[in-house]
Each structure stands twice: as structure tokens, then as C-alpha cells.
Symmetry: D2
């Protein structure tokens, strides 16, 4: 029904994050700062964006738009409709499973409750949303959207608690799955992370009285906020003019943040667990070079996501780092509607090989992942056509064998190359001289755990690599997904 | 009058190319291929784009649009209005000196002549356009656009020759300056480069009967065309079904292609003078490390344009290459209309420092140029705020001291930092520990001339660095520009 | 937030209807017919329009748009998204009291219930909506819109009945006020009128198996449907493939349809109570000529709404009917944003006097109403400036002294000229030679009741003229409105 | 290529005017007044509109838009780009013969001449444009548009006179056909009518120093200007701050203004030849009643264009005037894209019969013209279906037998009903009880010439009725049109 703006520069052969959240309280024009914060989080979702603000004179105001923050929330004519010293915002990738986006699905959601209104923005995925939705409709709830996140709003409406934060606790104790939530009432900014802290949320500060919540630290940087700390797994913070109150509404559990944030999603300049994501990715390259050395003439990243690991690989191996593939920065999600004469050009629209550099060389290509493998095959063909002597793939994540149910958009398992082929079959399928993935332990080491994965108490949620699902995917099991023991 | 789409990811402190041209003859759906070619040339101009095609049944058809190729020429509804086996196209940066773009200024221009219609797309700048325009208006010409390129159309209309190519020769002998032109009649695709070959143009081929003209080889790659050769300086090629005819309409001269193509404009994967632009830029980094070595902990490119030189610098110096600055790929030309509370955030909207990496380190920043210096200052501030111990700038081009009059959009000379300050004053102004530019000879060496610049017969047009203008800038002198001896 | 399209040709000094409803079952492409029906009802609301359809293959589909039917629901690209043999639609005038329209307020509303989905379109106004809304929110309902009509959806969701029609009965027994509702489930088309039949609803038929519901008969004519009968006051019809079932969910009451439908809102070609609205309006002119004769040279309607009464007045009085005022049919709701030099042109933008005709003449102006009186003053000034000898106003409705609470958008009582001035004060204020209104009895006579108004059991709801409110305006009394005895 | 906005309320079975022109000098914000004037002239062309203004500080500015004046030139953001005390504007109907409108064809045209710039807006049609265009292209002119009016601009450019007005005289002496032109230089407002005064142009005044030119007087009324006089046939007025200079550049000739202005095009409130167009049209009805009386029960206009004649017919005949047909004022040019189930509804989308009024009556339908006859047939069918006892058509213009070549858009002669059938054949084709047209003499009498048409020296250009072409249609004859003796 809507045209999705063609501004998404990644291809379909990648995993996708579903959301970024942001909130700020305590300075004038909070919506303007929210727009900047969402812009910094744009890599987490390009389909749509929304902002809600509150001002005592004008009440709650909201705007939801398809497309990029820069194409919508940069006009004073729109921002002026969002006055007030408190605001939250959301960028999103897509509706789970729906082809046509509708504006009603765009967050933040705004609910009018008997205690007053509140707005809520959710990053993550609820694993019992289908059952909850069914139950709520039985009880008379009218859903506005196709979004599972709306269950939370209805649960808040039906709680008998006397404050919005207490109602949110009631509501969130009913939901299962992964969530990082930023919410607001007229006077409070609220942030919550699920008990395992699967999805990220950080706290920042400007001066003495302005507080910020964001999915990543890069959204603090853009507005000049100082990083205070990560919100803990299972923590709810309620922020008012008086300051930050911390609550622990859920049963204690060992945190298991999503390892994908390190490998893929977070921007390289964001700080996670005390160090930059760039550094972790670079270190993955170092580990990869140690685990899977190769004799070659040059290390070439698949731009842009493979670059940090390629830097690390080159450094560790001593083989020169060279930019052998150029990415066309103007390529959107879709390009020319293919005609018979042009079809099958595929990857050439966004990537081009530097032929003069590649010719006759033994090339190590460093990419961040292999999902369906379609892009990898095309890249290999381009490299060979340019005259490379050998092509070696080094992949900065373990094989993706399992779907994610906690807010990462993965293809069906049957489409995951690593779920259906052995390593050698994959190598043959891609047609390369060698194909190597970093080990799960190598990945953990790169992320700062020198002893690798603690299989008794894994430090991360890594279900797509391990099949180890820390939260039962109830809805999916009902739909027929079979949990299997991790290999 | 028109909103320029905010899709231009470069900032205002860069030199800008004004155009890219493309043409194809000999296959069905020529306009679709032209759209792809223009997409590959999008870095040469993001303001507007246009395509003209010809089909014996439907005649000449054209479409001109503001914004990116991908946002316009990807819909079959538009491409279907451009049928036929011959087409040319144009991407453009901006109207010289005009603030408001009008669609009439967007090329290709289509003229109805007594010999039949023809379309023309021009990359470059005419140095006697003001005088020509005055003369043509005196004789009754009505200009459709504010574009100087339109003079060429009027000169063609007034020639008494019997064919369009012969009329084009007449016309082009009257103009001075730099031009790479792609033109078409109902049956001919025509390419011309000015006598010095200042602006680039290459010839490609698909199969036996399809020919392609483009500003750069990357536009051949995207449609699977083979690179045949560069069009020579001063050459006109007339391409029909029968093949390629070469003409030499101008007095012979030593070629002086624009050195900026190597330093800035051409895509790194394009081939110029037999090697990749990436390789030249990387080599500039090598030369720069030799000329201006420095003790430091890491080499950090200013993304994305400084990256190849940083790779070369790191390789030559042995200092690690690290991605210390992250660019937000979603930043357009403009972002939030500044409010009092947000103003002065400037560069933070598109660049962010990787604080964890930079802290306490001696950092070498490699950038491609310093024009006004405004961006450089902001980057330095960010780096220092992140806790860098030392900041050293290494610049991959000589100081820009002179405006360009051959198709590159340079600020007024008074705004060029290097035109008004000594090197030491610039260093102090930027507030860095050291600031070094590659020498002109070093640049020539990096570009493949081991003996550096031949000052008797310079190999390139390098007027912005040298003040040596190979074509008299007649219009500008009339407006008061004072030629000075090169230093 | 949205730009209201400037297509509303009436001025602000008129009463406005709030809605038109339409539904059809039993033929392919029901949405296309609904679009036509809504187009015929466009005079009942120009701000927005919406259609919901159902098809067993594609489920429920809906589209809501700001602006006119002709500017939205005429494209096959949109209509094709609304397949199926059952559809309902809605045109609306405005949000009660809200300045900025939001798409969420546009009907039909679609609710997902435990029994399956249903859509509902409402014309009218609920007089206890504020209290109902408060109660529903207490119980956990989340309102999607600012529209009072949404209460009905929530009441349906909370009913414990086993079918949608039974749930609708439950729900509608809880609401007070005026309503004509068209609703649909997957298999049923439902129509309901409130107990007094204040708002209109008619039933039509095409062939044997296609049934239509519409606010007025003119919407039957446009699709070639035959008029069957009016839905009775207090009746609910449930229409399936099998035919029409009639229910009487409410306590019996004497019908009191809104007299404004005759005076203002219904299209002149619609049939109400067995005769055309044009005929009633023409007859008002006859009665007016009898009650308030005047010596004059010509009868001039204020176009277009005063024309039928002017025809009747001319006929009865024998004074020639002449088109002395021309309406610019291209005038929208708003025109030029006034600048100092143009301000105060006001009514001239849409009306112009035929000076040559008016000069020196005694003119009787026949208008349908005087609300605020602002337009009447401007018209009088134009007529006098054109040189009229005398100006006599004859008004085809009694003085509007009271606000309406049943779906007609009236200004605050303090802005109603007749609520604050005596007849003579009004005449002096307007500056005319005479000013006369039809009497309430004369109006009833014209509407087909030879004995005038039956004050014991008034035949119509005429609260704006009489102050006699047949349904208690609960919400408004809570807000401070004081009921007064009718004069 | 462009979507024509669907705001044209007339149907395809009418003749269409091609343009309206307006100009003003001597007050601030001239463009705002021009917008109002064009709005009043909107009935003369709804496809596109444009305004050019001049201000000593900002030079010439222009804006051209598709669609209605009210939808474009009402925003201060656009009007503010058109500053200055002098402006001209244009509304237009369509491109002669072209299906797809392009913005380059929208007037006023702006030309840069050696004497300075000038803008020109043209109403009418040149009968030697094809030959002129061919000649101009031979001499090197480059046409910007497909509009014949552009020839005038090129002829001005090639004149050797020393002022724009003198050059305009040179140019206009070369063109043949019908024109009313409003032009402007930096300091002069210029108006010209062709030697026969076929197309209209009037002069108005505000205060002492502001002058206005417009196609009709209704455009003076809307801005409060006083009507001064009509521009004479063959007159050129040059207006500056000093006042109005009159020139007579053409050989003297008897004026023959277009009779269609009286019958169709001019707004009823416009003054032509000293009396209102309404009065002429009403008088046509009187003459028609005298020429073709009929026994009947009611006189019913075909709205809106047949209304004035119906008023006159009713008055003269004594048969009651009744509004038996209602026009849907929201109908645009196009409505629903027809589907199999809806096709053939045709006229019902905009007209509906008042059945209750018509049933059993002998009805006289008064329409302004019969062109193709398609609408007339549908109206007759509607009336009969409503149960009329008899249907008599009375047409307020003589039969249209010949195409117009002077600016009125007529169908090909083969499509004109009256060109291919006898009167009786037409009656039978339409299926009515009687069909009568006003005689040519009757029309002239109604227009104020008691002796009817002076066949020696006809008072009007009436070629479509008489086949008497006062200016040779050179281009059309070249295309094969055969002049025949008038009947």
C-alpha cells in the first residue's frame, strides 16, 4: 500500500535489526534532539520513524512517517508540531511477516489510559505475542496495528495499578521475549530491558538535569550527551526532573545480551561493555587470521560491513589491506525494475571490483556473514571475472544455522545456507578456493572473553549460531518450529 | 524554487564535480542502460538527472528530474516513456552561481534543428560563455536555461553545415574551455573531448554492435560493457550501426587532463590512464608518508574520501591503519534546520569519533583536501575531545590556492584557506600538531610520472594548485579575476 | 498536521453536515460502487473519505484518505486493493472541535473482535460520548481516534453476545444521540437508525440480490439502484445473500427526523418522505412570498443554496427570477493567504454581482439561512455597490438560535446572530431595507404538513430553531450548556 | 507525462476556450493580484497557470504550474517568490493536439532579448504558425515548447527595432490569426488585440496609478478595479507609470469579436459591449421562445450553462422554470476508471434528474449547445427514464457545423453532429419530441443587433455557425481542410 523508500543501502542477503529507540527529558525542543538521536540510530531501521512529545500547553503530539529521519524530521514545520521538554522516538525496520507497511504499525504507540496518556517505543520481539493477542481480543481489546508490540499497551490499560510505571511492570511480567523499551508519560521518561538484557539500552546525560535513553551510545554522541551507563538486564529506570530511580521488576537472571549487536548491528563507534564495537570487530579479524591463516597477496573487505575485520585480519597476517571492491553509496534497496536485457546484473548495481588491483592476485575476501549466500556467490564471480588467481572467503561470524526470535529478522531456516549444507558443500556452492568461519569461541574471545564461550552459563544470546534459545519461542513452536539441541 | 533532495552525502567543504555524461547505441531499451550508467556516475552530480532517447516510432522522448537516478529512473512507468535503441543521459551537480535550480537547466538539452532534432549532454565549463551568450542574444537567440552549455545548441542551430556532426564541429570551434560531450541524433551517437582533454570520456562496447560513451569506466562495468579506450583529447567520435568514425576537429595540442579526476572525482574503481584511481590515491598516501613522516600510534582516514591515501600512508609508514572515525551513511546534504539549542553541532551529524580507540593516542588524520578548512577544524576538535594525545593532518593533495574554471565547483579564491594563509598559519588555524600537504611533484609521481611535474609541458591541468591556466578564463577575467604567475 | 484540500466550495458562514454513509452487498467490485455512492454524497462531507471491503481471499481491506472521493477513489490502483462483493464507505466533514485532522479519525472504523472483524461507518453525534469514553478507558479500552463514534466499536468488543448484529444492539442501546450507521461483517451488511430517526438512511436494490444502504437517494441513482424504502426510525436491517431482516432493538418512539436535511443538507434531487427536497425548498419560497411579500423588480438567489426557494418566491410573487450573483465554481475553502493589500476582499473571491442587471433595481435576495451573518453583510455591500435601489433579504429557514448536538456542525451559540439580536437589530446590522425569515409553521407547511408544527408531537427535530432538544445533550450539559425553554 | 488534475467540471461534449490572460502594473504585490485575476478567469482554462513578475531587486521571476490557480498560487511560499509591482499571468486549457502536457508549454513565456527580458501571455490561435515555425527553425531558432505562441517570442528576438513594443509590432505584423496578448518588460505593461478583435481584452484601473489588463471584466471586479474600456480591435496599449499610450500597428479593419464569448465562454457577470453576458444569454432564451414555442409543463435548464437562456425562455413563454436536473458540483474531469460493471454510467456521474418533479411532465430542456450530441442523448435518456411525458430540446446557439481556428477547441468536423446530419436526423438521433436551435439572426438580435446579422459586414466572427472565416486558416488548409462557402 505504501512505497517503501528505496534508501536502504544493504542488500537482502543480510540479517536485519528491527528497531532503534530513543528518549530524552529535561531540555527544550526535546523532539529535535530525538530526531538527531534517531538519525544516529538509522542503521537499526530505515522503513519508518516516529516521535511523540509532551508539552503542558499542547498535550501529547505525535508524528509517524515512512522513510528516513533525514527526509522527514528535518523540517521545522514538522518539528514545531512536537513541542515540549520530553519526547521519545523509534526507527523500525519492518513488520514481521507483513509485506505492506501501514502507518498504524509505526511506533511509538500512544495510549490514552484512565491514569492519563503514555507513549511507548519497543525494540525487540515478544515470543508469546500471538497467545497474548488472542487472549486480549477475547477480553474486548481492539488492536490498532498488526504489531505485536501493541500487546504491551493493552496490558498496561488492563492493569489495576495506580501509576503508569507500576502498570508497565504488570504488563511486562506477562510478556516473554526480548525488549528494550523507552516510554513516557507527561512527566516521566521510562526505560526497561528484559530480564536477560537481550536488546541494548544505554543511559546518557547532558548537564545536570537532562537525561537520555538510547539503543546505542552513538545516539548520545550526536547530541553531545555523556555516556552514564548501560541499563542493566532486567532493570527499569524511571526518570523525572528529580533524577533516575532504578527498579528491578523481574526475577533475577544472568544477562545474555545479543551477540549480533557486536557482530552486525551496532554502529562501530558505539561502546558496548566498555569498548567500541569497531574494536571487537577488528579483533574478530585478528582471531580469524589466527584460526584460518592463508597465503595471499591482499586482504579485501566486502564493504562496508566487512572492513573492521579485514583491518584486523590484515594486521595479524601481515598481508596488505586493499580496497578491492567499491560500493556505490547511492544504491538504494531497489534499483531498476529488471527488464529482460538487464536482469541478473544483481550485485553489480552496488558493488564493483577494482580490476586493475585484483588481476592475478590471490585475494582474501573478509565479509561479516553468510546468510543465504546469494551475495557471496556474486561477489566471487566478480572477483574471478576480474582475473583473481585465488579467492578465499573469511567470515567474521560463525555459520548462521538457526533463526532468531528476539528481534532480528532472519530468513526461514530452510533458506540459511549453513543450515542445509556442510562447510565443504558451502565452499563448493560458493565456488571459492577456501571458506572459513570464525569459531564461536573465537568470537567470544574477540568480544573480550579470553576463555571463549562458557557453555554452562553462556555470556551472550547466540541462538542463531548455537541453537541455544534462552527464552522459549512459544509462538513459533505453536507454528511448528522444532527446537533442536545445539550442536 | 525546488527542493534539492537531501541525498548528497558530501559536505560543503569539498570541491564538487559538475557533471557526468553517458550514451549508448545499438541495443533495445537504451534508456534503461543509460539509467544504470548514470547511477554509476552519480558521484559526479546528485542534483538532477535527465535522459533523452529516440525511437523511429515515437520520435525523441525525454525526462528530466531533480534528485537521484535511483529515485527517478527506476520506475518502469517512467522508463517506458523512453523507448528506443539510442539514448544519452546526464547527471549534474549545480547551476554555476545560481541558488535555485530550475528544471529547464537540467540536461540533456534537446534542440529542433532544420536538419532534424539532436540532444546534447555536456560535462565541463566554457570559459567564453558569457561573451558567446551576449553575441547569440544579439542575433535573436532565445535562451531556455541559465546554463552556459546551451550556447552550444544555439551555435549548432546557426551553423550552415549540412549534418549535425559537421555543425557540432563548427559550434565547438567557437567555444573555449573544457568539455566532454555526448550527443545524439536519430541515428548517431557522438562523443567529443576538448582539445586538451581536460574532462574525461571513455568508449566501451557490448558485443559487436553496441557502443557506449561514459565519463568513467565504472559506468561501463555496471552494464557489463568492455572498456575499449579513452576518447583522445581533441577527438570527436561519430558512432552509427556501421561503427566508430574518428574526427579531429581542433588544432592539435598536448593533452592536459584534469588532475582532480585522480585526486577527487573519479570513482576509485575507474580506470584512468591504464590504472585504477584507487591505486593512484593509495600511492599518494605512500608519497605523503615519504615526504612527511611522523611518529604516531595510528593512521586514521577521514571517511570516505581519505581512505585510499590512508591505506598507502599506513603501509609505507608501518603505523597501523584504524577506522577511528565513523560516517553516518544516512546523512544527506542538509539535516535538521538548526534551532538555538542544536546549532553548531555541524560535523557531528555525519561523522563520529571512535572514542575508545582514539583516547591517549597520537593520531595521523589523512584527508583528501583542505578547501575552506571548516570541516578540518571540526574533525580536529572531535578528535581532541575524544582524548587524542596528538593530531597530525596529512593531506593527499597540494594546497588549493586558485579557483577552477573548467567544470569544478570551487569557492571564491578569498574563501580558499591556502590562498590566504601560509602553511604555518593554516596549522595554527586548524589547531593541530602538524599539517602537511603532498607536493605537486609528489602528486605527479603518484599519478605515474616518476620525474614529477614537467614544468615546460605539464602533463595535467592543475590550475587550482599551480595557478597555471591552460585555457584563458575569458569570462572570469572580464568579471575581474586577476591571473597571477604560479608561485 | 494535514493540509485539508481546498475543495470545499461553501463558506464558513454555513451549517455543515458531518457525514454521509454508504454500503453495498451482492455484486462484484462493491468498492467501486461505494466510491460512486460516496461521490454522490460528497456534499455531506468533503474533508475525508474511506472505504472498507471484504473478500474471502484477501480478507478485510481498507483505505482512508483526506480530500474528495474524485481525487482519491478514482484510481484503479487504489480500487484494486479493495476487492470483494461487500463494502461500506464514509465521507466526513470534520472532527468535532479539533483543528487538525488525523487519518486515524477517518471512518469506517475496522475492529478485530473475538467473533471476527467488522467495520462501521457512523453519521450523527452521540450525546453521551464523553461519559462513555471515560467509562471505557477506565475498563482498559485504548482509543485509536479522537472520534466519539469509536465508542460504538469498543462497546461491541465488550458485549457478550454471540453475533456481531446482537453485539451491535447491545452497544447501541448504551449510546444516546443521533446515528445512522452502516456496518459490515464478512457476510452481512447492517444498517441502523436511532430511535427517533434523526439522521437519514435509505435502502435500495439492484436486481434481485444486490442491496444498497445510503444516507440519501441520490446515491442510489448514481449506481442505477432502485429506491426501496427509508430505514425506519429505530430499525436495524441485517442484509445477507438471503435478503433483508428487520429488527427493532430500541424502545418505540415517534420519529423526529432532522428538519435540516430538508432545508440544507440533502441534495435537491434526493427523495425524502416521498417527495424531492427541491420541491420542499421551492415550496419554502412560495410560503415565504406569502408570509413576507415585497414590491421589487427582481428575485435574485444567493447561489447555489438559495436558488430553489428563489424559484418558488418568484413564481408565487410574479416578480422575475434573475441570476444577479455569479458564483466562481473554482473557489475552494481557502484562497489566497491575505496580504495587507488584498485583505478584506472576502466574499468577492467566490461571488460577484452582475452589475448591469442590478443597477437601479429593487432586489429581493433569497438565501437559505443566516448563521453568523458575515456573508450576508458582504453580499449586501456588493449589491449596494452595484447600484441597487433597495435590498430585501428573504431567508428560507427560521432564525438559527440554538446549537445542534445531533451531527450538524453549528457555531457556538454566542456566534449565532439570531441568538443575540432581535429581528430589527439583525436587519440594522445587515444594513438592508427589510429582512424576513420563514416561520417555523411555514417551514413545516412547505415540508408537507398543512397544519404546520404539531407542538405536542413535533414532526421533526428542529432544535436549532426551537430549542426543543428531543435527546438530552448530556455531554454538553456537563460542559455547561444551559437548556432553555423553547420560545 | 503529467497528471492533469481532475478539477475540470465540464464534460468533453463542450467547446473549450484555450486561455485567459491578465496583467497589472503599479501596485505592490502585483503577483498576488494576478493570482486573483487568474482565479476569476479560471473558467477559460483549468489545465495550467503561470505568473511572471518583475522587481528591480530580484529581476524577473516566474512560476508555472499544472492545475488550478487556487491549488497553486494561494500559498505565500510561492507568491513570495514573485515580488514586484508588475506582473502578468495566464490560464490555459490545453495544448493544441498534444495529449501530454509539459510544463514548458505553460505560459507566460519569458524571453531574454538583447534589449532586456520580456514576458508574454497569449490567448488565441495563430493560423500561420506552422509556416512561421518552419521558417524560424531554418534561421536557427530553437523552440522551447510545442506551443505556437512561441513564434511570437522568436519574431520579437529577430526584430531590429530598438524597443520591445516596436519589436512586438514587427512580430505581430508577421502573424495571422486571433490573439489577445498581455506582455511586460521591466517597466511596461503591454496589451494587444488582433486587427479584428476576435479575442477579448479589457482595461481597468485602481486609483490613479494602477492599471489592469484582463480577458474579461469579472477579473477586474475580483480585485476591486474599475472597468475603463475594452481594448479596441487592432489596438496596442503600452502602459507605464506615466499612463496609457495607444498604438494602432495594424491595417484598419471592421471588428469581428468572437460570438462564442457571448454564447459560451465569458462568465455571465462579465460585461461585453456594454451589457452583461448574462443578459445576452437570457435574451437568447427569449428569442428562442419566440422562434420555437412549445406547449409544455416546465422549462428545465441543463446546468449550469443552460440556465440563463432557460430563465429567458420561461419568462417569455410563461411556462414555469424549474431545476429538474441537479449537477454534482464535485465532479471533476475524470471519475472512476470504468470497470465492466460500471461502464456506461457516463453522464450520471455529474447530472441527476429530479424524478419526483419530472414524472409525467412535458419538459423543455434548454442547453447552450449541441456539439457531438453524446451528452444530449444521455440527458434525454435520464429524463425519459424519470417518466417525462415529452422531451423538447431548445438550444441557445445555432448548429455548430464548422471547426474554429481562432482559439476555441472544437472537435474535428466529422465529429460535429450538425455537420453530418440534417435537423430532423439530429432530432431522431437524440430521440426527442422536438429539437430546435436559435437562428443566427436570432442570436445576433439577442446580442443587441435588432436587425440580425449584417451579411455584408458581419458584426461577429461566427465561423463555427456560418463557415465564414474572417482570417484565412493557412496552416489548416495546408493540412487539408477545405473551406466551403457558408450556407
Amino acid at each position: 500500500m505504501h512505497n517503501i523508500p528505496p534508501s536502504q543501502p544493504f542488500d537482502d542477503d543480510k540479517l536485519k535489526e528491527e528497531c532503534g529507540v530513543f528518549g530524552v527529558i529535561g531540555l527544550p525542543e526535546a523532539a529535535n534532539f530525538t530526531a538527531l538521536g534517531l538519525h544516529a540510530l538509522q542503521h537499526r531501521g530505515q522503513e519508518a520513524c516516529g516521535i511523540v512529545s509532551y508539552d503542558s500547553q499542547h498535550g501529547f503530539n505525535s508524528a509517524h512517517r515512512f522513510g528516513l529521519v533525514r527526509d522527514n524530521f528535518t523540517k521545522s514545520s514538522l518539528l514545531n508540531t512536537l513541542p515540549g521538554p520530553i519526547a521519545i522516538g523509534h526507527v523500525r525496520y519492518s513488520t514481521s511477516g507483513k509485506k505492506d507497511a501501514v502507518i498504524r504499525d509505526v511506533q511509538p504507540f500512544l495510549g490514552e489510559f484512565s491514569l492519563g496518556s503514555a507513549a511507548i517505543a519497543h525494540n525487540g520481539n515478544l515470543t508469546n505475542a500471538v497467545a497474548l493477542r488472542r487472549e486480549l481480543i477475547e477480553k474486548g481489546a481492539i488492536f490498532q496495528s498488526g504489531s505485536d508490540s501493541e500487546c504491551i499497551i493493552h496490558l498496561i490499560a488492563r492493569s489495576f495499578q495506580n501509576t503508569i510505571p507500576e502498570r508497565m511492570k504488570d504488563a511486562l511480567r506477562r510478556v516473554e521475549g526480548a525488549f528494550a523499551i523507552v516510554a513516557m508519560t507527561r512527566t516521566k521518561l521510562i526505560g526497561v530491558r528484559d530480564a536477560l538484557g537481550i536488546r541494548p539500552l544505554v543511559l546518557g546525560k547532558i548537564g545536570d538535569s537532562c537525561w537520555v535513553l538510547a539503543s546505542e551510545t552513538c545516539a548520545l554522541d550526536i547530541i553531545g550527551a555523556d555516556f552514564v551507563r548501560e541499563i542493566d538486564a532486567g532493570e527499569m529506570v524511571v526518570i523525572t526532573k528529580e533524577g533516575v530511580q532504578s527498579h528491578r521488576p523481574f526475577a533475577p537472571a544472568r544477562p545474555r545480551p545479543c551477540i549480533f549487536e557486536q557482530v552486525y548491528f551496532s554502529r562501530p563507534d558505539s561502546i558496548v561493555e566498555g569498548r567500541s564495537v569497531y574494536e571487537t570487530r577488528r579483533q574478530i579479524g585478528v582471531e580469524l587470521a589466527r584460526e584460518h591463516p592463508v597465503e595471499a597477496d591482499l586482504i579485501c573487505p566486502v564493504p562496508d560491513s566487512g572492513t573492521p575485520a579485514a583491518v584486523g585480519f590484515a594486521h595479524e597476517s601481515g598481508i596488505p589491506f586493499e580496497l578491492g571492491i567499491t560500493r556505490n553509496q547511492y544504491t538504494g534497496r531497489t534499483f531498476i525494475e529488471p527488464t529482460a536485457s538487464i536482469r541478473n546484473m544483481g550485485v553489480l548495481l552496488k558493488l564493483n571490483v577494482n580490476k586493475a588491483l585484483i588481476k592475478g592476485k590471490r585475494v582474501v575476501l573478509v565479509d561479516d556473514s553468510v546468510v543465504r549466500g546469494t551475495t557471496s556467490r556474486k561477489i566471487k564471480e566478480m572477483i574471478l571475472k576480474a582475473g583473481a588467481a585465488e579467492v578465499h572467503f573469511r567470515i567474521a561470524s560463525p555459520p548462521v544455522k538457526w533463526p532468531d526470535f528476539y528481534g532480528v529478522d532472519t530468513p526461514d531456516q530452510a533458506q540459511l545456507l549453513a543450515a542445509t549444507m556442510t562447510l565443504e558443500e558451502m565452499r563448493a556452492h560458493l565456488g571459492v578456493d577456501s571458506l572459513k568461519f570464525i569459531s564461536l569461541d573465537g568470537l567470544y574471545r574477540a568480544a573480550g572473553h579470553p576463555n571463549g564461550r562458557d557453555n554452562e552459563n553462556p555470556q551472550y544470546c547466540d541462538s542463531s549460531f548455537s541453537g541455544d534459545y534462552p527464552v522459549m519461542p512459544t509462538d513459533m513452536i505453536e507454528k511448528g518450529f522444532a527446537l533442536q539441541a545445539a550442536e
